[in-house]
């Protein structure tokens, strides 16, 4: 599968990465190089194989459904690039 310039722009939008028009051709070439190399996996017969999702070779633990932490608004907001009192700020989204 090979990506065309429009597909590169679509992936960039999904990934929330600004890509300028002048960069599309280079990115397209690099991504197609990697995807072409990955296509070697088509040689592998995976019929009937269960996918391995995680790195842990044991069942995931569940913890008790109780509050373990909280009430740390200042610590949470301490690294905000911009804030207004106890709120994060973003550009206006509703007119």
């Amino acid at each position: 599968m090979s990506l065309d310039p429009e597909a590169v722009r679509r992936i960039a939008r999904l990934a929330r990465l600004r890509v300028d028009d002048g960069q599309v051709a280079q990115i397209q070439g690099e991504l197609n190089g990697i995807l072409g190399w990955i296509d070697q996996l088509n040689e592998v017969d995976v019929e009937g194989v269960e996918p391995l999702t995680g790195g842990a070779l044991m069942a995931m633990r569940l913890r008790d459904d109780v509050v373990t932490d909280g009430d740390q608004a200042e610590a949470v907001l301490a690294n905000a690039p911009d804030r207004d009192g106890p709120f994060y700020t973003v550009p206006k989204v509703v007119e």
Partner: protein, 492 residues
């Protein structure tokens, strides 16, 4: 001072032959002298280190020595450290000061360690050269005979490995997603172990690919690595994949020997184009183990050649999901935009480097509607086959021994044209992450140009003890005492 290993320094501190202040001051001095050239540290913290050393001396005076009291370490800048900037090697985290301490570094502090500063790394741990760091490349303290061109230290834990090799730290924390502990350890002539997935908590470690990421130490000797892992490891309720399994005495395992062990040699690791010196070193390593009483067994891991391609689906997929959190709103750097989407897109375009963007885009694509089954699901199935290969051979052998890397360290300007050439560095290490197994790299010899070459020991899940036993036996036989060019002749 610099000739002491971590274990020897610990003993000298306890015997009050040296003070923690003297030891830390020596390493702080080495950082001041060498960091402008090596760039192993993004953020040295000399004042904090000397304060911690004084506290260690008080503890030692009271007879309250922990396992690492007064031992000066470098911390990979991927571990969150409370009140000390943590960048992950990325511009996007340049203003980030964590309000909390990662579990692994908290464990080291509990045991008395002194932190010298935050070590350089490839951006978000994505790289094999330390060339993707937003804070400049790290220079390997080794150079080729008669050729002073700078070489890469490997990556992503290149700052950690270079700091330990250059005697700018007694040991260091590192992380390994596809080889990021073992490859830089091999390139810098030191020891590194990626433990079993789940052995060290991932809580407070900046996430790259969560099903593969695992913390571990780099150090000058196998015993030093064992001591550090003993402090770093342990169950943590804050990481849902943390293993609730007791931490054994890894350092004691180094003394076990290998008599009666069965050591597997995977024939698929004998690659076309591998340097003949690496093949020779591998054979030498097997001969040493045979001499020490082990039995060498030829084994097969048939899906080895698919490890890298599988990795470059799974790891970018998880990275694209993990790195979605960098939005310019909650923490990290922000670039303005006329609306919210533009703010996100500008923040991420300006804040991430080229390799990180490349992996986010690959990951976004392989997870996108219509392509998920063809790429991501397929990769998860091949991953299951890679694990099955290991499970099958570990019915017959106790550990595997392979080369750590296909080449010695390369030049800072080399291999930058094609991303895939860089990816091939990790051909021997990636399958170990895919299967969640422990893997240790140690220096075993020098190539004709005087650069270190490493071997890798791979073990069964949660059997780091056998890995340390085999690693220590190889270390004893190899007698690797060469110093990096930077330190040769100036060791004392």
């Amino acid at each position: 001072m610099f000739e002491l290993s971590l274990a020897q320094a610990r003993d000298a501190l306890r015997a009050r032959k040296i003070s923690a202040r003297e030891l830390t001051a020596a390493y702080v001095g080495a950082i001041e002298a060498l960091n402008p050239e090596i760039n192993a540290y993004i953020t040295p913290t000399p004042e904090l280190a000397l304060q911690a050393a004084d506290a260690a001396d008080e503890a030692l005076a009271r007879g309250h020595a922990g396992p690492l009291t007064g031992i000066p370490l470098a911390i990979k800048d991927l571990f969150c450290t409370k009140g000390v900037r943590t960048t992950a090697g990325s511009k996007i985290l340049s203003p980030f000061i964590p309000p909390y301490e990662s579990t692994v570094t908290a464990n080291l502090l509990r045991d008395g360690a002194v932190f010298l500063g935050k070590a350089n790394l490839d951006e978000f741990a994505m790289g094999s050269s330390n060339l993707t760091s937003a804070y400049g490349p790290v220079t390997n303290p080794w150079t080729r005979h008669g050729d002073n061109r700078p070489l890469v230290p490997g990556g992503s834990s290149g700052g950690s490995a270079a700091a330990v090799a250059a005697r700018m730290a007694l040991g260091a924390t590192a992380t390994d997603t596809g080889g990021s502990i073992r490859q830089p350890a091999a390139f810098c002539g030191i020891v590194g172990i990626k433990p079993t997935y789940g052995r060290c908590s991932r809580w407070g470690v900046v996430a790259f690919a969560s099903s593969l990421d695992q913390a571990g130490p780099v150090a000058r000797t196998v015993e030093d690595a064992a001591i550090l892992l003993g402090s770093m490891a342990g169950f943590d309720a804050k990481d849902s994949t943390s293993a609730d399994i007791a931490v054994p005495d890894f350092a004691a395992a180094c003394k076990r020997g290998v008599r009666g062990l069965r050591i597997g040699v995977p024939r698929e690791y004998r690659m076309d184009g591998m340097a003949p010196e690496i093949e020779a070193l591998w054979q030498q390593g097997l001969a040493w183990l045979r001499d020490a009483g082990a039995t060498i067994v030829d084994v097969s891991l048939p899906h080895t050649k698919y490890g890298l391609a599988t990795y470059y689906i799974v790891a970018p997929a998880e990275a694209s999901s993990n790195l979605a959190r960098y939005d310019g709103v909650r923490y990290g750097a922000r670039s303005d935009g006329h609306d919210l989407t533009a703010l996100y897109e500008n923040t991420r375009a300006d804040g991430f480097g080229a390799e990180v963007k490349r992996r986010i885009m690959i990951g976004t694509y392989v997870l996108s509607a219509g392509y998920y089954d063809a790429y991501y699901l397929k990769a998860q199935k091949v991953r299951a086959l890679i694990l099955k290969d290991f499970t099958d051979v570990f019915r017959d052998v106790d550990a595997l021994v392979t080369p750590a890397t296909p080449t010695a360290a390369f030049g800072q300007g080399d291999r930058m044209d094609d991303p895939i050439t860089m990816y091939l560095n990790d051909v021997f290490t990636v399958p170990v992450n895919m299967a969640g197994l422990p893997g240790l790299a140690l220096p075993a010899g020098l190539d004709a140009t005087g650069l270190p070459l490493g071997l890798q020991v791979i073990g069964k899940p949660f059997d780091e003890e056998t890995v340390f036993a085999v690693g220590a036996a190889l270390e004893r036989a190899a007698g690797f005492t060469a110093l990096p060019t930077l330190r040769a002749g100036a060791a004392a």
